[in-house]
């Protein structure tokens, strides 16, 4: 594997092929690789297959722009700033994206097994639900579990007898995405990853993927991150590419660095309910700017300063979040 290569965002995203399977860092509207999502859209990627522990603003946008063929996950929305993933809804209700429903723990189990090199993971989670209804095994219904795509398991799940203690539980197939795109606070120049705050399912997502692009707020000397190894999440030999791009999770939040930009997401949610609205939004914020630097200029320093986290707290105290 060797040392990770440092690339610009455009070149790193250029390595991703149409039809590839992707997963991401973060949780709903926190620490999502938004600049990478914008670049995937700018490069007009097609037929992407997303497998993620949960979705959020990033995947709703990517699905809405028609880059995604299959979305395997359990949740999509914008938390307080937008009730549902309206772009996924519109595409699904028009039959333009395939949804495969699992629960949080079940998708996590897929990544855990993938990260450990195992074919499946046993779990008791979400048994007796319609996620397991054979009628809603959409990949199966479409004949996509025929083994022709090695990334798609031959079964959605299996209910098996526990051979050791006498119970019954689920086996959930492993997932090894082609790519994990992870936004993190810090990475050493040899690829040692540091994540601050809640780590979500980043470790499993990164280790399950065949190739990993880490986008960091800061690239620091390797010596610096190695002074405190207990604070690090993943070693550099499991990272392939490093992109240094501050604020690249905007409008999602990044613990200790900046707050979620709620107004921005609210505006995205309310103006992209229709395809025309989304197309206009993309023309303004993605294709209407040359790169992420220009995007940040458009967001504006004043706004970014409001979002900047108070280091003593890990979040900003200058953001108006509620009605008072």
């Amino acid at each position: 594997m060797g040392k990770p290569q440092k690339l610009g965002l455009k070149d790193a995203i250029g390595l991703i092929n149409d039809g590839d399977m992707l997963t991401f860092s973060g949780f709903t509207i926190w620490r999502r690789p938004m600049a990478a999502i914008y670049e995937l859209i700018r490069q007009k990627k097609k037929d992407l297959h997303l497998v993620e522990v949960n979705g959020g603003t990033h995947s709703d946008l990517l699905i809405g722009t028609g880059c995604v063929k299959i979305w395997e996950s359990c949740w999509i929305g914008h938390e307080l700033y937008g009730k549902i993933g309206a772009n996924l809804g519109r595409k699904a209700e028009a039959g333009e994206v395939i949804i495969e429903d699992y629960s949080h723990v079940q998708v996590l189990a897929r990544m855990q097994a993938g990260a450990m090199g195992l074919p499946y993971m046993p779990t008791y989670a979400s048994m007796g639900t319609d996620m397991l209804n054979p009628e809603y095994d959409h990949l199966g219904k479409l004949g996509l579990r025929d083994g022709s795509n090695p990334k798609i398991p031959k079964k959605k799940y299996e209910i098996v007898d526990d051979p050791f203690y006498g119970s019954q539980l689920l086996h959930i197939p492993a997932c090894n995405p082609d790519w994990c795109i992870a936004h993190v606070q810090m990475v050493g120049e040899e690829g040692t990853v540091r994540v601050e705050g809640q780590q979500y399912s980043d470790s499993e997502a990164i280790k399950a993927a065949d190739k990993v692009i880490v986008i960091a707020e800061q690239v620091v000397t390797e010596d610096f991150v190695r002074r405190e190894p207990t604070r690090n999440l993943v070693a550099g030999h499991q990272i392939d590419y490093i992109v240094e791009l501050p604020w690249a999770a905007h409008p999602t939040g990044c613990y200790g660095i900046y707050e979620t930009d709620g107004d921005f997401i609210r505006n995205f949610y309310s103006t992209t309910r229709s395809q025309e609205g989304l197309d206009n939004w993309v023309a303004e914020w993605i294709t209407g700017v040359n790169d992420f630097d220009e995007y940040l200029k458009k967001v504006g320093v004043e706004k970014l300063e409001i979002l900047r986290a108070n280091p003593a707290l890990g979040y900003s105290t200058k953001v108006k979040r509620g009605t008072r």
């Binding site: 973060g26 949780f27 509207i29 926190w30 996950s73 949740w75 999509i76 929305g77 938390e79 307080l80 009730k83 549902i84 993933g85 809804g89 699904a92 209700e93 028009a94 949804i99 429903d101 629960s103 949080h104 723990v105 996590l108 855990q112 008791y124 989670a125 979400s126 048994m127 007796g128 639900t129 319609d130 996620m131 397991l132 209804n133 054979p134 009628e135 526990d162 006498g166 119970s167 539980l169 705050g197 809640q198 780590q199 979500y200 399912s201 980043d202 470790s203 499993e204 939040g253 613990y255 707050e259 979620t260 707290l313 890990g314 979040y315 108006k320 979040r321 509620g322 009605t323 008072r324």
Partner: protein, 281 residues
């Protein structure tokens, strides 16, 4: 949330100082009723929204030793600012641990969680909850909702679950359109035969939904896992609540009116927990 000293003072209040009907909102009563479901020392797994407000109220009021786990990976945080979602940086403020999903869902599967606090879009008489889709589901769904997230995992494996949701006839149904989160009678796959939850969960069976709190009443579940009305909120009657369910709600076991919020509880809700008007606008 606050120092131990403040909590003790609040808990020491003797006669409840109830707020008059008309002087509080129905969302206040729902939150207070939910907080009263917490026993001191409970390990609570809370979802985004009112569940967060309810657990914080419980901790500040009668249950200072309750531990709150958020699914994004924070354990026993002491936030001084209300998180807007479980992934929020605020969740891990002064937490015992900021880890990730594998840790906290592992604890859940291990049997650590006493009480789950969750929301939903639809519920049926067995406590099955839908947050996935309305109408016909399938390859081309009629109306896609958010999906379950951790709702189904948490509710499935906690000892008790309290659901907080708005009361509407179309949301309280005989059978939900999609069983996202398992109640007391659930499908056993591959056939989908509806059986008691115990038969599906085997050794991992620990309980299930114990209460549903709406803007009209507090519902509980009988020996057969069927929902009944326990208490009705002021300005509602059992008959009115029944009229807002599309299944035949059992109102024969009503124990009375829902206990009103106190001034102390409203003070905590609006001045300490949610002064910004995030979930209590």
């Amino acid at each position: 949330m606050a120092t131990t000293a403040t909590m003790t003072t609040t808990a020491a209040t003797t006669t409840p100082n109830y707020v008059k009907v008309g002087a509080f909102k129905s969302i206040d009563l729902m939150t207070v009723a939910a907080a009263r479901e917490v026993s001191d020392g409970d390990i609570v797994f809370a979802g985004t929204g009112l569940p967060m407000v309810a657990i914080m109220l419980a901790q500040l009021n009668k249950s200072p030793n309750a531990v709150c786990i958020y699914e994004a990976g924070s354990v026993d945080g002491r936030p001084i600012s209300l998180p807007t979602s479980v992934g929020d940086a605020r969740c891990s403020f002064k937490a015992a641990i900021a880890s990730g999903l594998a840790d906290v869902f592992g604890q859940l599967q291990r049997g650590v969680v006493d009480l789950a606090f969750l929301g939903g879009a639809e519920v049926d008489k067995y406590g099955n909850v839908n947050t996935t889709g309305m109408g016909k589901y399938g390859l081309v769904p009629d109306k896609r909702l958010t999906g379950g997230g951790g709702n189904s995992d948490i509710n499935g494996l906690a000892r008790k679950t309290v659901f907080i949701m708005p009361q509407e006839k179309r949301r309280f149904k005989e059978r939900v359109d999609f069983i996202t989160s398992p109640g007391w009678r659930i499908p056993k796959w591959p056939t989908g035969e509806m059986v008691p939850k115990q038969e599906v969960y085997n050794k991992a069976f620990r309980g299930g939904p114990t209460a549903v709190i709406s803007n009209m009443g507090v519902f509980r579940f009988d020996e057969n896992g069927e929902m009944y009305l326990d208490t009705y909120h002021p300005e509602a009657t059992p008959e009115m609540v029944k009229a807002h369910c599309s299944f035949d709600l059992n109102i024969s076991r009503v124990s009375g009116e829902t206990e009103l919020p106190t001034y102390e509880e409203l003070d905590l809700l609006y001045n300490t927990i949610d002064p910004e008007g995030i979930f209590l606008p």
